[in-house]
Symmetry: C2
Subunit: 193 residues, 2 copies
């Protein structure tokens, strides 16, 4: 068989990776633990030996995706060391690139919408991770030397979140197609003043 994923990776990692992918594609409530374990080439018992519950698995998945997003930021710094403005433009390009037609949007935002129970354990994790991302974008804007860095960062953040949900509502030909133009226009106008 040699699934590639089941070669030499431990079940826990396979489950985590598969769950991330399936949660992203089909939604959290749209996929059961049986389907995850089967796709990961293992079984339910092994899943519950590594994760307390499905909620626990959800949280671990969110942390993992946030970690990957963090690596993206590091890549910007590596590509344009010290040039914060270039990194900001790289962020715009990367964001636009995440708006491909088959994208299913932001896992955190989707989870926040799907898990409507206000006391769901994943909600505080979502809030933490999203706030960390916001802080990172604010810092980037500030160090890029734009005025009102917080306002620019928040605007860009809302634009991206909006583009990602719009993509799912009306498709790639909708408002999200103009994301780059909007973002670049905003950065330019904030830089001017």
């Amino acid at each position: 068989m040699a699934d590639g994923i089941s070669e030499r990776v431990r079940p826990r990692e396979r489950i985590l990776e598969t769950a991330q992918d399936m949660f992203h594609k089909h939604g959290i409530k749209g996929v059961g633990v049986d389907a995850i374990t089967e796709a990961a080439g293992t079984n339910k018992m092994t899943l519950y030996r590594h994760f307390e519950s499905k909620d626990d698995l959800i949280i671990e998945c969110l942390r993992a995706t946030a970690c990957k997003a963090g690596a993206m930021w590091d890549a910007f710094e590596a590509e344009y060391p010290g040039d914060k403005l270039a990194q900001l433009h790289a962020w715009v390009r990367k964001a636009a690139q995440m708006l491909s037609a088959d994208s299913r949007g932001c896992d955190m935002a989707n989870a926040a919408i799907e898990l409507s129970e206000t006391d769901h354990p994943a909600r505080r994790v979502i809030k933490e991770l999203k706030e960390a991302q916001r802080e990172r974008l604010v810092n980037l804007c500030r160090e890029a030397g734009v005025g009102q860095a917080e306002l620019l960062a928040d605007t860009l953040s809302l634009l991206l979140d909006g583009a990602r949900v719009s993509l799912q509502s009306v498709g790639a030909a909708g408002p999200s197609a103009q994301f780059v133009r909007m973002a670049e226009g905003l950065i330019a106008s904030f830089k001017a003043r």
Copy 2:
């Protein structure tokens, strides 16, 4: 009892109203038909006499909420007849007012996220209704005399959608708190040029 809702209203209307409310609060996959009918003061059989399936009910709910949103637009025209710019500012105020702390966001967008199956019957309805709203906002911007009306309308649209999901991810103290300032700033800058 006199629930208010079960007084003299036919079961179909009660179900539709209750379902809208419950889908909004708890999500579509988060509420079952039994819970809806019980809250509507009726039973499952009556629901299935008026709606083919749960999917059918979902679609009717989306149409109903879109209809209510349409009435909102008419209210703008009634309040500021002919003054399209005033209507645009009224739209901003109304949008901001929908960003209250306990809001659960846009039903269409939430449904699009929850119903990840690409061939789900509700998806084309969502697309139609969202596109109609977009067209309406574009027309308002154009008639308000701003340059690049489509781009402004799309930007405002993404900002609002983004604010509504951000509200659910990080709460009312997050980026969505700046929505009015962002929107007004955008309108001003588009009017200038």
